[in-house]
């Protein structure tokens, strides 16, 4: 077996100033090209898990290896290769950035210090904007977009990064039904065509895409189930109703 792309060993994460870990003793191993859904009730620790994986939150115990390297040591370098669409975002009206630049900024970490974005960077940005139907909004200030449009911009940003790993936290939460289908299709295609390792947090079991075979159930900061989709979904429905 190849080495996993993401590996968590006995990981706990405690928020600063808190005593109780938000996720605890997590053991999780994800192979190259896997597509995994993460489900669980509010406060289960889903967001915490994603941000522990990309190192935005420092873990308190155990070890997190991404692409074979420890996130605690190589955080920025690893994050430049991980696309992340956060659950919460808010850009007020005066935010001094245009949509195109928000998407371009996703690549800044890869571009590196003391270098300017190249033509290729800009081409990737334009492609991502077009994929999400945002080309017309490209020169608008991000703060003047609707919540759903902003969520699409963040998706475009994550894709324009051409990441090795994609972390999506409730990426449909602000989207209407038509947009949901389109975005789900887009995510599926990227997974299929590029073998992109993808983790997606969802609260709506119906939204788990058909090509997703592995589901992880979190509750109370612990992994309760991890395995074949049908089995985990069944366990979840039994425990929490539908």
């Amino acid at each position: 077996m190849a080495t996993p792309v993401i590996e968590l060993r006995d990981v706990s994460t405690v928020y600063e100033g808190e005593r109780v870990p938000a996720i605890r003793e997590i053991n999780l191993s994800i192979e190259l090209g896997e597509f995994v859904a993460i489900i669980g009730p509010n406060g289960a620790g889903k967001t915490t898990l994603l941000e522990t994986i990309n190192g935005l939150l420092p873990y308190t115990r155990g070890q997190v290896l991404v692409l074979g390297q420890d996130v605690a040591r190589f955080g920025p370098q690893l994050r430049s290769q991980i696309g992340y669409v956060p659950q919460e975002f808010q850009f007020d009206e005066t935010t001094p950035v245009l949509v195109r630049d928000v998407v371009l900024m996703g690549r800044y970490g890869q571009i590196g210090l003391l270098r300017r974005p190249s033509t290729e960077d800009r081409t990737r940005v334009q492609e991502a904007l077009e994929l999400l139907g945002l080309a017309e909004l490209a020169e608008r200030p991000i703060g003047k977009l609707s919540g759903g449009q902003q969520q699409k911009v963040l998706l475009a940003r994550a894709l324009a990064k051409e990441p090795k790993i994609l972390l999506l936290d409730e990426p449909f939460s602000h989207l209407d039904f038509a947009a949901r289908d389109e975005v789900a299709e887009l995510i599926a295609r990227w997974h299929r065509e590029r073998g992109l390792t993808t983790l997606i947090v969802l609260h709506d079991l119906e939204a788990i895409p058909s090509h997703c075979h592995r589901v992880v159930l979190l509750d109370g900061g612990r992994i309760r189930q991890d395995g074949a989709r049908e089995r985990v979904v069944q366990a979840f429905t039994l425990a929490y109703g539908k």
Binding site: P86, F89, P96, L98, M105, G109
Partner: protein
């Protein structure tokens, strides 16, 4: 300005312009990163430091610089984690720094009401020396260079710190670089504008630019230009009506900001 030698006029006007430009550029960060209360506290710490310098007979600007940078180093982590509400920092530390500053002034040899002592409070054009001018030139150059070299990183930081981290930029060094430069700018601006009011130049030009623009490059440019204009018009007013220079600059800044809010497309519904 009649009767003043040309070299002095160049120093004064040039120094004021550089102060305005440096404050406008850094003000862009202060406004957007919500560092107002930190900057406010730093400026009064700088005043206290300068007053201590007067009392001890040490170059006031040196101590002002140490005091404001030290404040940045201590309060930076507090502000960064938003653990203490900003108004608490200001509410506690503002009186403290003012009290210290006034005690030092009181202890300063000679009369406490000497012009150099009062200059620390509300600024003084004539206190600007050729050396100050050179320092201001170096500092403004360093600020422009820093912003130019790391424009990408600062743009990401000013957009959203978490997303900047997400893209792989380590934001902390850049955040502290800004705090450090702000501390230095405050200390150098103290001579011209005075400890009570120096903060206005860090706030007003940038806040005005943010009312109109969404493109960060333009915001930097206009904040610097407005800083220069506010300082320039302030000097003219100060000479024309014999007003304290700091107060004159504040009056001009307030009028400018007021006009901006009134005309701002961002506030129009």
């Amino acid at each position: 300005m009649y009767g003043l030698p040309w070299s002095l006029i160049v120093t004064l006007v040039g120094g004021a312009a550089l102060t305005g430009a440096a404050c406008g550029l850094l003000g862009t960060f202060v406004v957007r990163l919500r560092l107002s209360s930190l900057g406010f506290t730093m400026s009064h710490a700088a005043f206290a430091g300068a007053a201590l310098g007067l009392a001890l007979g040490i170059e006031p600007l040196t101590l002002a610089l140490i005091a404001s940078v030290l404040t940045a180093a201590v309060l930076g982590p507090v502000a960064e984690r938003a653990k203490l509400p900003a108004d608490v920092i200001t509410g506690v530390l503002f009186p403290l720094t003012m009290a210290l500053g006034l005690i030092f002034l009181y202890l300063a040899p000679g009369t406490a009401m000497s012009s150099s002592a009062l200059g620390l409070l509300w600024g003084s054009l004539l206190a600007m020396t050729h050396t100050d001018f050179l320092w201001l030139m170096g500092l403004t150059g360093a600020i422009v260079l820093t912003i130019g070299l790391f424009f990408k990183e600062f743009q990401a930081l000013l957009f959203d710190r978490k997303l900047a981290e997400e893209s792989g930029i380590p934001t902390r060094p850049f955040y502290y670089l800004i705090l450090f430069l702000t501390g230095a700018t405050i200390a150098l601006a103290l001579r011209l504008v005075g400890g009570l009011l120096v903060f206005v130049l860090l706030q007003s030009p940038a806040a005005t630019a943010f009312q109109f623009l969404y493109d960060l490059k333009k915001i930097f440019f206009w904040a610097a230009l407005l800083g220069v204009s506010y300082a320039g018009v302030g000097i003219a007013l100060s000479f024309a009506f014999d007003l304290p220079i700091g107060s004159a600059i504040v009056l001009v800044s307030t009028v400018g900001f007021g006009l901006a809010v009134w005309r701002s497309p961002k506030r129009r519904r």
